[in-house]
Amino acid sequence: MPENFRLDKGGLVNRNKKISFTFNGKKYFGYEGDTLASALLANGVHLVGRSFKYHRPRGFFGAGVDEPYAIVQMNRNNEIDPNVRATEQELFEGLEAKSVNCWPNVDFDIGAINNFLNKFFPAGFYYKTFMWPKSFWYKIYEPIIRKAAGFGAASIKHDKERYEHKYEYCDLLIAGSGPSGLASAYAAAQNGARVILAEDKSRFGGSLLTSEVTIGNQSGQEWAEKIISELKSMPNVVVKNRSQVFGYYDHNMLVMSERVSDHLPKTDKYIPKQRLWYIRAKEVVISSGSIERPLVFGNNDAPGVMLSSAAKEYLKIYGVLVGKKPIIFTNNDSGYETGIEFKKNGIDPIILDTRKDASSEIIKEAKELNINIKFSYVVVAAKGYKKVNSADIARISDDKKNLSNIENIKCDCICVSGFWTPSIHLASQSGNKTKFNEEIDAFIPSQSKQKETTLGAANGVFTLEETLKTSFEKGSELSKQITNKENKVSVPTVVEKKPSSHDKFWCVPLPEGKNYKRFLDFQNDVAVSDIQLALREGYRSIEHVKRYTTLGMATDQGKTSNLNGLQLVSDVENKVVPQVGHTTFRPPYTPVSIGAIVGREVGKHSKPTRKSPMHYWHEKNNAVFVDAGVWLRPRYYKQGNENLFEASKREAKNVRQNVGVCDVTTLGKIDIKGPDAAEFLNRVYTNAWLKLPVGKARYGVMLREDGIVMDDGTTTRISENHYHMTTTTAQAANVLSHLEYYLQLVWPELNVNVVSSTEQWAGAAIAGPKSREVLQKLFPDLDVSNEGLPFMGYMEGNLFGVNAKIFRISFSGELAYEVNVESDNGNYMWEKILEIGKEFNIQPYGTEALSTLRIEMGHVAGSELDGRTIPYDNSLEGLVSKKKDFIGKRSLSKSAYVEIDRQKIVGVVPLDKKTSIPEGSYIVKDAKAKLPNPKLGHVSASCWSVEYDNPFSLAIIKDGKNMIGQKLFAMSPLKNKTIPVEIVSSHYVDPKGERVRS
C-alpha cells in the first residue's frame, strides 16, 4: 500500500530505516522511531478497533498514555501481549498486531448490532436486565456477556519472558521529562543530589518536542536534547525513558515500570522484557504535564475525531498527516497551533472556535496565514461510520444554548481541543488534597501530605517562562535541603506566544429532532445520556455515578473523560465542579502487566528452595522429591519400576525388619543458652523441664496462648546452660519468633539467648531393630548399649574424624538414633552410614515411609497439630503439667476444652482391610443419614500399615475416648467413597512403646 499520509520531510523519525509490520494480517511499512499508531496513520489506517459496549468503529484519539481507543493485541516473541496501546508501542521490524473486541473482524463486526439496539443498553443495563431468574446468571448470561466483552485475550501459556524488580533510593525522583522535569532535574543535579528522571515515552522533552518556543538561543527541542545529554553525563543522575511512574505509595515509595524490551522484536537472553522499580525518594517532583480535554458533540467517537494536540504530535514528531481536509474544533488557542502546523505543511484547515471572538499572537498568526476561522461555531455531529467524511457544523448563540445555520461540510478529520487537564494522578495518590482552579476549569494539587511538589502543566501552569522559572527554583531548593550545596543556575530567556483565555464551553447541545450519541468516556462507551439517566435515577455521589455508568473505569481510567463527566454532573445538578468533587485516583496510572508485578517470583522462584547437604546423593540415588516447607526432601527412592506405594512400603518394612536411614536435616533446630534456659523451657513447654539432667533429651509440646498446640519436638540438655531444641520442619521460623517474643518482650529478666542452628547441622535418623549395631560400628569407642545410651539419652562422638552428636530419639517408633554433624560433613556422614550399614541391609527411606511409620505408631505430626487441636485431642494430655504455669495453660480450662465428649485422636481400620481411606474423609455414624450428615470428625492421616499389611488411618473424632471398638463409616464426598470402618487405638503398633526402649 502506498504511504500517502507521510510528509516528504519533517519529524523525528529515521527515514533511512524502513520497517515492515503487519496489522490484522496486512503488511505495512513505517520508519524507525514510529509508534504503531503513527505508522498506521501514515498508511491511512484509521479503523483500529471496536468499542466496548456498542462495538462502534474506533480509531485513534490521542498520541500517548491517554489513548482510549487504539488498544491492540500483539504477537511478539511467540507470546501474546494484550492491552497494548498502539500510541505507545514503538515500531520494530516484523511487529504483528491485531484489533480487539471485534468478531469476525474489525471491518465487519457482528457485535455492532449493539449499536443499533443502543436504546436497550442504557446505563445500568446489566444490573437491570440480568437479575432474573437468578440461576440464569452463571450458566447463561455471564458466559455470553463474557464472550462479547473484554479487550484482547490473555495467554493461557506460561509467560516465558523475564521480568525484574529493582529497588532504588534517591534524593529526587522526577516523574516526567517535559520543561518542568528537565529544569528541576538540572537544578537538583547541579546541587549534587541523586536524581532519577523518568519519562514514559521513548523521547525526552515532553511538550518541548511539539511547541514553537525558543529557550536561550535554541529551539525547545534542541534545549531539551542539550539538558538531557548533560544530565546523562552526570554520575549522580539516572535518566530513564520508556519508564512510567505509575504509583505513589506510603512513605514516599513510588513504583515505576520500565519497558525494557517492548520496543524490540524480541527480548535478549538475560535482559528483562519489563522492569519494575521500587523507588524510595526523599523528594518527588511531579512533572507529568497535562492532557488535552475533548469537546463533546454528536458521534464524537467516529474514527478521524481526535485531540488536536495528538494531530500536532503526529505532524511534528512523526511527519504524519492525520487528514488532508481537517476541521479544527476548539475553545482555546491550542487548536490554532495545530491549524498553523497543518497550514505550514500545505494543508488548509478550517478552525471552528466556540468563542465569540478572541485575539492573541497565535490567532493573529493564523489569520496572517489566511486560515479559515469561524468564531461562534461548533461541530454539531461527525458524519461517516468507519471514518469521518463530513461534519454538521453550526453557529452557536452567545448563551451557547441555540444552534443555527446548520450546514454539512466535507472533512476527513476533526481535531478537538477543549483546553487542558493537569495530570494530578500521582499527587492525588500521595494524599494531596487537590483543589479546583476556576481559571483552568480543572483540579490542581494543593496541600501535600508526603514529600511531593507538582510543577508545570501538571500544576496548572501553562506558560513556559513561568514553568522554567519555578522548576529551576524548586529543583534547586529541594536539593539544597538534602545536599546542603547550592550551585546557582541561571534561568534562560524564553520566547513563546502568549495565549488568550479559553472558553468554558465544552458540550454542544443536540439540534432539534436529533438524538446523536455524545460520548464522554470513549473506551467504556459512556454517553451524555447515560450520565443524565443515572442522575434521574437518583445517583448523586460522583463515586456512585462512576460505578453505575462505568465512567472513567476503563483501562485508560478516564484520562480524557473524567473532567467532562464532572462538568456534566455539576451542570445537571446545578452545582459547581468542586462541590461534586472528583473520584479517587488510584494506582496504577497506566496498566501494568501482571508479569512485571510478579517479577522473578515465578515457579520455583516464588520461594527459596533449600536443599540438605545430602541432596545430591539423593538425586543420584533416584530420590523422588517433595516440597516440605521451604525444603526439598526425598519422598521415596525409586528402585526399578516401583511406584510411590511400592517403594514407600518397601522402605518402611525395611525399617521395621532391619534398619533404615532418613535425612532429617530439615528439622528446625534452635540453640538455647543462658543461666535461665531451664526456667524458660519450663514456661514454653507444657511439661516439666527443670529437672532434665545434662545429657538427656525430652519430648515437649508447646502451646499458643489460646491453648492450641503450636509445635512439638525434642530438646536436649547439652550442658548445664546449653540446650538443643528441635522443631518441626514447617514451624521452625514461627517457633524462633515465638521464643524471641517472650524473651524480648514478656520476660526480659530471663538471661537466655536463642539462635537458629537449623542450617548448621546435617541430621540422619538411623531407625530399626538393627540400628544399634550400625551405631556401634560407626562409633566403635562408645558404649551405645541400652545402658550406655538409654532411650532419650545423648552423647557426643567422633564419626571417622568428624564431631557428631548422637540422640537416642525415635519418630518411627523403632529403636532409633539421630546423628548430627556439621553441615559440611553431612554427605560424608551419610555415605559412611550407608557403607557401614550395608551388612545390616540398611536402606534410605523418604518422607512417605517416615509418615507410614509414625502413623501406625500413632505419633502426631502436622496433620494432627493443625492449629485447631489442644493436647488432649492428640492424646498428649499426659504431658501437660498440673503443677506449673506455662504459655497457654490458662486457656486449657476453657469450658469447650474440658467437655466430656471432647474430640480425641483414634485409629481407623477399614472393615474389609483393603480399602484405603482418603485423607480428609468424614467419620459418620450412619452412612445413609439425611444431609447434612452430622460428622464426628475427620481422617487426618492415612497409610498402609506395613506391620499388619492393611490400611490404617488416624482420625480426630468427637468423644474419641469412648469410640474404640465402634463400627462407623468414613465418607469422602470428594472421592465419592463410603467405607465401613472400625475405630481402634491410635497406637496401632507397639502400643506400650517397648521397641524404642529395647
Binding site: 529497588y167 515509595m253 496462648e705 524480648q744
Partner: protein, 88 residues
C-alpha cells in the same frame, strides 16, 4: 510500602519486618489467678483504633529484635519507634 525506623538498625523497608499486633497488651503474670473474662480479653480482644496505635513489629530479616512502633492506622504515618526494653 512503609519505611520503618528500627531503633537498632535505622530506616528499613516494611518487607524486612513482620507485624506483631497491639504493643500495649500485657501478658498476665505467671502463676496468678485470673478470671475467665480477663484471660479472654488478653487472648482475643484487641482494639482497632482509627489513628495513633502503638504496635509491635519484629525486624525479622534484620536484627530479629521486636520493636514498638507508634503508627497512625489511618494515614500510616509513623511517629516514634522504640526498643522492646523501652517503656512508653
Amino acid at each position: 510500602m512503609l519505611y520503618i525506623k528500627c531503633p537498632h538498625c535505622g530506616l528499613r523497608p516494611q518487607t524486612e519486618f513482620s507485624y506483631g499486633g497491639d504493643a500495649t497488651v500485657k501478658r498476665p503474670e505467671l502463676n496468678k489467678e485470673i478470671s475467665d473474662q480477663d484471660w479472654d480479653n488478653f487472648v482475643y480482644l484487641r482494639k482497632s483504633p482509627r489513628g495513633k496505635h502503638l504496635e509491635l513489629w519484629q525486624h525479622i530479616s534484620g536484627c530479629r529484635q521486636w520493636i514498638k512502633v507508634e503508627r497512625d492506622t489511618l494515614t500510616h504515618e509513623i511517629f516514634t519507634t522504640y526498643k522492646a526494653s523501652e517503656n512508653i
